[in-house]
């Protein structure tokens, strides 16, 4: 059983409470720096910030419905080699799961890292968050979500990826900060999920607490709603792309900017083959292609790119939705990739980010398996 404690909330201000908690984490002397989403001083923009001075945490805001990038990539940068310090990272569930995939690929390490996960209320798209933040505050958002009024505030609602996310609780974290099914006007739940998390909890000296029963049922009902909308979305997307022509229509706005690859936390190649000289075709090659069918769309290799990316990363896709967030032409990339990823992960009885002990499916094999794909009869 995980070690469970609580932190007091004053005047219903969750952000104040969390910032105080983050400061207390520094006081244990166990962390050198903390990666946490924070308002940048120059604008109402939230970005991950690496903080070493606990007095500079006043603008930390891990509850805003803002998700500008998947921080798994950043944690990988911070931990791919020993940094000489200990880092605490405040992450969303999908960031933790993506990081787990990167650790399996030896592109990050949890040795000198404490992951603090907060129950995830989801986020808006970048565009929606910009509009939201002009008028509203983070407190309005969490107030609405946690009082049961829903995630929609002044016309903005969760990004599609978040609205179908069946992992609102950051299970892979060392420490979980619980919001769901908790009387948040009064306190937040803190759980140590790993020996590392439990030991940090002990040094924080917080009052012990049990896990209220409502929490389990609140989480279960949220997951069941999300799973239902997820499956709906899978059906719709599969139906809308079930021929090559329909897939082409789905992706027809693609300009091969490869933003979806750049922001993808599990696109693990250091250099993507699609930006190498392999795809810097000879001018005469384009003419040959055009002559063969009479037409060739420029830039070329669009479907080729997306199908290859599916083959390379779909078994590691955690569904964070950053691909859609980064698409300049509003292609529903997340819908397509999550649908495919769901099927490929099922085929290998694998779930990205579920456990650090499961090897990525394409990195191993069994002698006796998949006999059905062999032979021509």
């Amino acid at each position: 059983m995980a070690k469970t404690a609580k932190i007091e909330v004053k005047d219903g201000d969750l952000l104040l409470c969390l910032r105080e908690f983050f400061r207390s984490v520094f006081k244990t002397g166990e962390v050198t720096a903390m990666l946490v989403p924070m308002h940048l001083p120059m604008k109402q923009v939230i970005m991950p910030v690496l903080v070493s001075d606990p007095e500079r945490l006043d603008d930390a805001d891990p509850l805003a419905p803002s998700f500008p990038m998947n921080s798994a990539t950043l944690v990988s940068r911070l931990t791919r080699k020993p940094s000489g310090g200990k880092i605490a990272a405040v992450l969303r569930s999908c960031e933790i799961r993506a990081f787990t995939e990167l650790v399996k690929l030896k592109q990050g390490s949890r040795d000198e890292l404490v992951i603090i996960g907060i129950d995830c209320m989801g986020a808006y798209t970048n565009a929606d968050y910009r509009r939201f933040s002009e008028k509203e505050s983070t407190a309005t958002f969490y107030g609405s979500v946690l009082s049961g009024k829903g995630t929609a505030v002044s016309g903005a609602d969760l990004a599609p990826a978040c609205s179908i996310c069946e992992h609102p609780v950051p299970e892979g974290a060392d420490i979980i900060i619980g919001l769901f099914g908790i009387d948040v006007r009064n306190h937040l739940l803190i759980q140590g999920m790993t020996p590392k998390g439990e030991s940090m909890l002990s040094s924080l000296g917080l009052p012990e607490s049990g896990e209220p029963e409502e929490r389990r049922s609140a989480i279960e009902s949220l997951i069941s709603i999300r799973t239902k909308s997820r499956d709906n979305l899978f059906d719709k997307t599969a139906h809308a792309t079930d021929t090559l022509e329909k897939l082409t229509a789905w992706l027809s706005g693609c300009i091969n900017c490869y933003n979806c690859r750049v922001v993808c936390p599990v696109c693990y190649c250091k250099e993507c083959v699609f930006v190498t000289d392999v795809f810097r075709h000879e001018p005469s090659q384009y003419l040959q292609w055009a002559e063969r069918k009479g037409v060739v769309k420029m830039p070329t290799d669009t479907i080729f790119y997306h199908l290859t990316r599916m083959a390379h990363m779909s078994t590691a896709c955690v569904g964070c939705g950053q691909c859609s967030n980064a698409c300049p032409n509003d292609i529903n990339v997340m819908e397509l990739f999550r649908t495919v990823a769901h099927n490929t992960q099922k085929a290998f009885n694998y779930e990205a980010g579920r456990s650090p002990d499961e090897a990525p499916p394409l990195s191993e094999f069994r002698e006796q398996e998949f006999g059905e794909v062999v032979g021509i009869n």
């Binding site: 794909v373 032979g375 021509i376």
Partner: protein
Amino acid sequence: MSEFEPTIIAFVCNWCTYTAADLAGTSRLNYPKNIRMIRLMCTGMVDPQYIIKAFLEGADGVLVSGCHPGDCHYINGNYKARRRIKLLKEILPQFGFDPKRLRLTWIGASDGIMFAEIMRDLSAQIKALGPSEAKLKMVI
């Protein structure tokens, strides 16, 4: 209109299936001209993108063929190929590719007769499926 002749790209490993093809040739066995063979050192080096490229360029069928399990010259390349084929057989049919267009076989170096038989069967099967969608339509 002339009869449809499918284009089949076969990625074959140097040590087993290519050697079997060689044996079929030196034994003067016939097999259809629809098969375009690409020799690789091992099926374990067939990146899924080679297969995707072949289909998008208009191949009506793709065959990957290597050594029998346990016989791989590089110990386990064929097992890795099998997982990649499994992966592609999950992905491609979602977009309307008939899974029968993508095949994996094990043909050992001494299986010249078997090689010719499989090529004949495969060619007939792909012919029966008709031309692939990618061949007929504009692919972006």
